[in-house]
């Protein structure tokens, strides 16, 4: 059995920190490269004695710290000035002083996490519980109160006899060999082990089940649904407060909502035709809005070209063409009255179109009319 084992290292135990420092110095001096010192706590000056190059972790911290700062600045700028630009507290969209706290925290967070992860997983190659030194008497001693030194068998200068002599000359209190554990060396993790698959399945079922329950069920249970079902008057509910029982109230007599102008010519289309003047000038923008709104709301009946040849022809009383002399001679205000009040079977479009949009639609209808009945001057 012993002969099959592969040698890992030759180790020596020392009793005092002075001895181990001295030993490390001597061994580094002899030119051994693959050796390590094991001490229960960091011993001062050991890095120099072992001739180790300075740790490179400072660079990891610097790089990740700086990228944290920069990344935070960029994302804050993008979020608050580009993607979701809202003025808060009268501050500019890009408020650099107010970003400094978050930038600082992100810097610290990314640098700390990256440095520690780099140390554990890149520099130390952890987790590693199958190292040959684990579970040995040597490890037990150096974890408690002894100081050990170990020279690996794959060091180019490794020579068991020579090193033994060297250790003895340095007053080592114990010297022993450590072998690789064959079982661990040959052990392979199987991904398709049934136990592991079962574990994955269980994890998947539990996570998705919990997520489904909390998002689709729990949120609709008491008290989580209280935000949705509050004790308040909803729009169509009966009110117990007011005599007329309506939950929705009329505006106070004589008041007008902000940004709303009442229509004075209800039921008086001719008066409207006389008095109302189109305030929206004919422009590319207004025609574009007019076309969009016309195509959406008017074309189902009147057709895309206002000839009354719509997709709904035959299902209702046929809608008239807008190219008739009557309509062409109507003033803009008269058409506005139709859009606002409706006419015959046509309903009011006040809820669909704002005042400006109505005028824009009228401008567009005029353009359609001109397309079929162009004036002499249009040809020029």
């Amino acid at each position: 059995m012993m002969s099959e084992k592969i040698l890992y290292s030759l180790n020596a135990i020392f009793d005092t920190p002075d001895e181990i420092s001295h030993a490390a110095e001597k061994i580094a001096e002899k030119g051994y490269k693959k050796f390590d010192v094991h001490t229960p706590y960091p011993v001062h000056g050991m890095d120099d004695a072992m001739r180790l190059a300075p740790s490179k972790l400072g660079y990891v911290a610097l790089i990740f710290g700086l990228s944290g700062t920069l990344g935070a600045l960029l994302s804050l700028w993008w979020v608050s000035a580009i993607d979701y630009p809202i003025v808060i507290g009268g501050k500019p969209l890009f408020s650099f002083p107010a970003y400094i706290p978050v930038m600082f925290e992100v810097t610290v967070l990314s640098a700390s996490i990256a440095t520690v992860l780099a140390m554990l997983f890149v520099f130390f190659k952890f987790p590693n519980n199958s190292h040959p030194l684990h579970g040995t008497g040597y490890m037990k001693k150096v974890s408690s109160d002894k100081y050990g030194i170990s020279i690996q068998a794959d060091d180019p200068k490794f020579n068991e006899e020579e090193i033994r002599k060297l250790f003895e000359s340095l007053h080592a209190s114990e010297i022993d060999l450590i072998f690789w554990d064959n079982e661990e060396l040959n052990h392979k993790n199987k991904i398709l082990e049934p136990k592991f698959l079962l574990f994955l399945l269980a994890a998947a079922v539990i996570t998705s089940g919990t997520a489904y329950f909390s998002l689709n069920k729990l949120m609709f249970m008491v008290p989580f649904n209280w935000m949705m079902e509050q004790q308040k008057q909803n729009a169509q509910q009966k009110s117990l407060i007011f005599d007329d029982g309506f939950g929705m109230r009329q505006p106070v007599a004589g008041t007008v909502a902000r940004g709303y102008m009442p229509y004075e010519f209800k039921g008086q289309p001719d008066l409207a035709g006389e008095k109302l003047v189109n305030p929206v000038p004919i422009s590319k923008e207004s025609l574009k809005i007019g076309q969009q709104k016309y195509d959406t709301f008017c074309s189902p009946c009147h057709g895309y070209h206002a000839e009354g040849d719509s997709r709904l022809r035959g299902q209702y009383p046929n809608p008239p063409t807008l190219h008739s002399d009557k309509v062409r001679k109507w003033s803009d205000g008269r058409i506005f009255a139709v859009l606002t009040d409706g006419q015959n079977i046509m309903p009011s479009y006040s809820t669909q179109l704002t005042v400006d949009e109505k005028w824009a639609v009228i401008n567009y209808v005029r353009a359609l009319q001109r397309a079929l009945n162009a004036k002499e001057s249009d040809l020029q």
């Binding site: 001062h44 400072g58 507290g89 009268g90 501050k91 002083p97 107010a98 400094i100």
Partner: protein, 392 residues
């Protein structure tokens, strides 16, 4: 006592230093006097910068000496005398504040408030000339007293080697701490904040304190490095001690930035007119660039320069950064004071140069005389041996 094993040969500073010091002092004095004759207002403002700057170095050095006693630090013991010599500048402080007392009405608006200005009249119990003079004189006497007590014990120890003197200094230093905190705060309020008497900021005393410690530390570092180069200290200064100095400089650079940013952010964010006008004056016209320059020179440059571990151990780098920080503190005080003299543009001319030259001369001369009469190393200090052997 094991300290007897240290061999120290007193070395004199070269006579050249004295000549340079006196030369600078006289040159500065001539410019200052000319300045006072040509433009007394402007000179008085510059005088305030100079006074507060010298206070920073002098009282700040005494603060560090006291901190060493209080914390029981050993690494700084071999060069503690540098701090003690610099704190001797306390003696010459009247040279800079007495001329100002005759010009109080030129620089301080609160000496003659308009009758309609209810706020200033409400402040009169504190901001009046008599109380102002009483305050500065009392502060000066307190500083002088503690300077005398602490350095006397330290000097005595050179001969007696009595460790009881260290214990006594620890007690004196403990009492000095609250005295220092109060005097430095009210010096800042009186001489810097009250230049704009309507403005107020509770952090202002700490802001001035952060500059004070930086300036004192930077001045001491410069002297330590130059003297160490010429071999004035026992066995030289080890890189580990330089590292500690560098780390402190770095830490206080960050502390200054922290305090300055806190003050700015809170005022900027709350946006109250009674506070923001002070910062707006420093963001107006040319002052905008001066403000940006302050961030660069007092924070970014020393921060970058001292960030890495090797740079904190490198005396050459430390020397440069200490120079930058010392300049930065003067610049900081200039930024605090001068917008009250001229709004919208940054005044800079030969009048501004007089006081820095005068101060450089004063510092060198005082240091020279102190080092002539006293040991540069506290040879009787029981902590000295540990300080020399100090390793991280």
């Amino acid at each position: 006592m094991s300290s007897s094993s240290i061999e120290y040969q007193k070395k004199e500073l070269p006579l050249k230093i004295q000549k340079i010091g006196l030369g600078l002092f006289i040159a500065g004095l001539i410019i200052v006097i000319l300045g006072y004759m040509v433009n007394p207002d402007r000179s008085a403002y510059n005088n305030i910068i100079a006074f507060t700057f010298l206070t920073s170095i002098a009282v700040g050095s005494l603060f560090f000496v006291a901190i060493e006693f209080l914390s029981g630090a050993v690494w700084s013991t071999p060069f503690r005398r540098v701090g003690e010599f610099l704190s001797a500048l306390i003696i010459v402080l009247p040279l800079l504040f007495i001329p100002l007392l005759f010009n109080v009405d030129k620089v301080f608006h609160w000496t003659h408030p308009e009758p309609a200005d209810k706020i200033l009249i409400g402040k009169a119990p504190y901001l009046n000339v008599t109380f102002f003079i009483v305050r500065i004189v009392v502060f000066f006497l307190l500083w002088l007293l503690f300077y005398y007590l602490i350095t006397r014990n330290s000097r005595k120890q050179d001969l007696s080697k009595d460790s009881g003197l260290t214990s006594r200094n620890v007690k004196i230093s403990a009492v000095f701490m609250p005295v220092f905190a109060i005097t430095i705060t009210f010096t800042a309020i009186d001489w810097l904040m009250s230049l704009e008497p309507h403005w107020f900021s509770t952090i202002f005393g700490i802001y001035y304190f952060s500059g004070t410690v930086l300036a004192a530390l930077a001045a001491a570092t410069i002297f330590i490095i130059l003297l160490d180069k010429k071999g004035f200290f026992v066995k030289g200064i080890h890189t580990d001690s330089y590292y500690s100095l560098g780390a402190l400089l770095f830490a206080f650079t960050n502390f200054w930035a922290y305090i300055a940013f806190s003050q700015f952010l809170l005022i900027w964010y709350a946006n109250l007119p009674e506070e923001t006008f002070w910062f707006l004056a420093r963001w107006d016209g040319g002052w905008k660039y001066a403000s940006i320059g302050l961030i660069i020179i007092q924070f970014l440059v020393p921060y970058m320069g001292l960030l890495s571990q090797p740079s904190k151990m490198n005396p050459k780098r430390l020397l440069i950064m200490s120079g930058v920080l010392l300049f930065a503190h003067y610049y900081d005080l200039y930024w605090l004071v001068m917008p009250n003299y001229e709004k919208g543009s940054v005044p800079f001319g030969w009048i501004e140069l007089g006081f820095p030259i005068l101060i450089a001369g004063l510092v060198i001369t005082v240091f020279y005389y102190k080092s002539k009469n006293e040991n540069l190393v506290p040879i009787g200090d029981p902590k000295l041996k540990r300080g020399i052997d100090f390793r991280l």
